[in-house]
Symmetry: C2
Subunit: 560 residues, 2 copies
């Protein structure tokens, strides 16, 4: 069976960095050529980064992307390169892939299915491609190119390309991660490959971009639906794959074929070993690490600072930060108040020592006292309550931001999804910062990830007491989360159904959840939308994260 | 010439409040019938409010909207009512208008052009209508119904309805305000009416919804392009209009006509007098007032609190708040620091007295001192800088939020668009609050609005000193805005071109702006995207507000 050496370029590009991305792509092309690849495929919109969002509305941005593509294509010799870029179609734009060979763009494919749901807004920018299809002859193999969403539905251009004589389908992607996405993609691609009876090389982007993590995990799947090659998840770089491409006679009504590369190059060195699938906890944790690392670095920061409460959220976040950036780039701050327990200070110190991070303690009492005095004339006759609790969180937020301003450290916040769903956090307090690593991680998953961190390390990176003690914000004497919220294993399923599955309160009550509890929790979710709008971005790991994924109005009286 | 008495219902509905909106619509129907209207038209998606956003993804929400429509239609007798609602089309949804008569829905029109640009995401939710067109016979007049965007382009359903025999076109809208939109709409409608040679009744929503203000200003325009009736801007309620509807013979290939109302009712009372157009300042100010009032009230608040610095931004915001909510619902807080000038305290007090609002003074020195002490070990050997400046703003934000928590007052922030564009504000400091009234108002417009407020009042509501002194944040001794920024009349045109017109730095330099200044300002805009994402919502008054209108990535290296 003929083999084709394919370069799968899981390039970690930066949105908007046209010149920088072109350098990365040129390196990928050179590397693939050196390995003797006949074809190297880069992800969807590799040149602009994905998603470029409203940069696309700036004509000069699109113009520059076309210039850079032409410069890049001029460097492609002895190999064929598939490069995602933004094409012009009259006054409109297309999400396109250029097939480059012999120093020029020899063929362009324009994406036909434009996702406009969940985090995707492609119909805001692009028109769907409708030009006649064509194949590209790469060293004797007829290759058809499609882009991302084109692969997700039966029929469509992949079927037509295969029916028109394609022997290999290359599908280039910017497919963001969520839990379970890898299995979902493999199932979809197996179905598609079987449908078209043709191998598919699925090439995905790697890297964090604001709330999204593109996880790579590219894949070559045979026309029999069997996986031939798996690329690693979360790792950027070139994967060299020798893939089986059964030769097929061209059909009578074959699509036109554009010549691209006459002879197959001689392979140099071995192919990249196939990656192994990891379990759920490792996968989620990997997304958090890459998402944080890229957000910090791509925005010009090197170091981060985290408030360490001795609780499980800040402990997990500190571990992620150390794994993302290195212990020497992570700073911890303990900020005990008059209500902090001894164990929380000890636990936070233990954690910092285990992780080997710089840490300092700033007891907030003097500022706390000063605020209470300043507010005393306004609070005459009032019992201390929410205002006084929030004060402590806001003093801490202010201290962290002051350290950020002094030293250029990005403040990493520690709220989880369960808390931000019900508004159990203080705006401008514990929600204050540049990145909210675990904002899409429900509390029950925080517990399992923390346990997994220790398990993987073979020791208590996170002090065992942190994993076993009942959660508390410690904003008043003897406070515990379960005084105002149901246990998290009762809360999280309600939140998942309401937030991620678009169920309503009435649906949940019908499904057997306690009516009073459902009414209370769903109302909390609704009335706290205003808070979440002011939260920093964080890594999306579910099918629906708070952010552009879930566009609920703040002003919203629906309580169904 | 035959006349038709038309009810233009500028109803101020609330997003998601299906039952509450149905009550408002039923009242409008009853009122229009009592006035002897043959037809009453409500705005686009009047039943759900606009935009319902991801509520549309909840099947139960759509179901309930259909039930409420049926209940409402059952009450329509002796009049025809056009009611915007969400229709089901198989598994998909349509943005639809129901024509109700004789206790039932007699005809449904589904919007054909779905805007998916600027603040609009309609292709996320809806499929375009493509059912055969029909007319409705209302008391002998053949009426064609379309929805919003359908009217904005030559050709399309309005042309087909007119060519098919329509004698009156009713176009129902949820058209958000921006500066100059009224004139733009009139020009577009005059063109459309002339094109189809048929009168058009343009019915628009009134009310604030998060960042959007729907300004009403409904309009009836004759087939000759001449305005017959103008409804008031920003005022909700029923406008009774007696409009000229020239009878036309039905063409040979006439569209089918659905019977709706046999005889014209007898008009009762006079028609509503036509509204007069207002000037730019009054129009912008009106949007701010309605936007603030509706955000506060629709979210269940009655009172607001504002930090009064003695500067022009907080002074203008206080005036808007008083005009929106009444002086008795507005609270001012003066929070002088060691760097505050005497005049700023005097000016802030004068303002509060002029406006007749409750106010108190909390000098922040004790908290300021406490923070500096807490941070001293971390700041050894450092010159005071940004950290120390931001501290003061964050202490003030914390105090305002504490008062908010104590008394249930919504904190109203005072940053203008010029400041938030270049990041000249403190996150969790002056940006902390529930609503940012003037976030889309450039500083030069703040100056003219403040002058207009005094002019209109015939007295210095805003102390004259506030209008004349140079702007300063007073966060260090002798600080003035023009030490770090160019004068606002130089800054604002650069910002307008860069932010609102999608020009790039290179474009602006080509257009003759100073290159170094353009590079510095556009870079400031880019790198402060992260701050703006954490700002509260505020009223959109330009063609591109920060918010869902302008979706730039935070992680973005394009500097072209």
């Amino acid at each position: 069976m003929p083999q084709l050496r394919l370069g799968i370029a899981q390039t970690n590009v930066v949105v908007g960095d046209l010149e920088g991305n072109a350098v990365l792509l040129a390196e990928g092309i050179a590397q693939a050529r050196a390995a003797g690849c006949a074809l190297v495929a880069f992800p969807e919109l590799a040149l602009t980064g994905y998603p470029p969002e409203d940069l696309l509305l700036k004509p000069r941005f699109v113009e520059r992307n076309l210039e850079v593509l032409a410069e890049l294509a001029a460097q492609v010799h002895g190999i064929v390169a598939v490069i995602g870029f933004v094409d012009r179609v009259g006054d409109a734009l297309a999400n396109a892939a250029a097939v480059c060979a012999d120093g020029a763009v020899v063929s362009v494919y324009r994406k036909r299915r434009l996702p406009n749901y969940a985090v995707f807004d492609e119909q805001r920018y692009f028109v769907p491609g409708d030009e006649p299809l064509a194949l590209v002859d790469v060293a004797g193999v007829r290759v058809g190119v499609t882009i991302c969403e084109d692969a997700w539905w039966p029929g469509g251009p992949m079927r037509d390309l295969a029916a028109g004589g394609a022997e290999l389908l290359v599908n280039v992607n910017a497919s963001p991660y969520h839990r379970g996405k890898v299995a979902q993609r493999e199932a979809m691609l197996a179905e598609r490959a079987a449908e078209v009876a043709c191998p598919i090389a699925y090439v995905n982007l790697v890297g964090g971009q604001d709330e999204l993590v593109f996880d790579g995990a590219s894949l070559v799947i045979g026309g029999d639906g069997v996986v031939q090659v798996r690329a690693p998840q979360y790792e950027d770089g070139l994967i060299v794959a020798d893939i089986d491409v059964p030769a097929r006679p061209a059909p009578a009504d074959a699509l036109p074929v554009v010549a691209a590369l006459g002879h197959a190059p001689t392979p140099v060195g071995a192919a990249t070993p196939s990656a192994v699938l990891v379990d759920d906890a490792a996968e989620v944790y990997g997304a958090l690490v890459l998402g944080l690392r890229d957000y910090v670095r791509k925005n010009g920061f090197a170091e981060v600072v985290i408030g360490l409460s001795g609780g499980i959220d800040s402990s997990l976040v500190a571990c992620v930060a150390v794994d993302a950036l290195g212990a020497e780039h992570v700073h911890g701050v303990l900020m005990p108040s008059r209500f902090s327990s001894d164990h929380s200070v000890v636990d936070a110190e233990d954690l910092a020592v285990h992780l080997g991070i710089d840490h300092r303690t700033i007891a907030i009492e003097p500022a706390h006292h000063a605020f209470l005095e300043l507010l005393a004339p306004s609070s005459v006759g009032r019992e201390p309550g929410l205002a006084e609790e929030n004060l402590q969180a806001r003093i801490r937020g202010t201290l962290l931001m002051a350290l950020s301003n002094m030293f250029g450290w990005m403040v990493i916040t520690t709220s989880n999804k369960s808390e931000s769903a019900v508004g159990y956090s203080t705006l401008y307090g514990d929600s204050a910062g540049g990145f909210a690593v675990i904002k899409d991680v429900p509390k029950t998953l925080v517990f399992s990830l923390a346990a997994w961190v220790n398990e993987r390390a073979g020791q208590a990176r996170i002090p065992t007491n942190v994993l076993s003690k009942p959660p508390s914000a410690e904003l008043r004497p003897d406070q515990r989360d379960d005084q105002s919220l149901p246990p998290y294993d009762e809360l999280d399923p309600i939140l998942a159904a309401y937030v991620e599955e678009d169920r309503t309160a009435a649906d949940l009550i019908e499904a057997g959840f306690d009516a009073a509890l459902v009414r209370r929790i769903t109302q909390l979710v609704d009335v706290n939308e205003y808070k979440r709008r002011q939260f920093p971005p964080g890594v999306r790991i579910t099918t629906k994260a708070f952010g552009k994924d879930r566009r609920l109005p703040i002003t919203n009286r629906f309580r169904g």
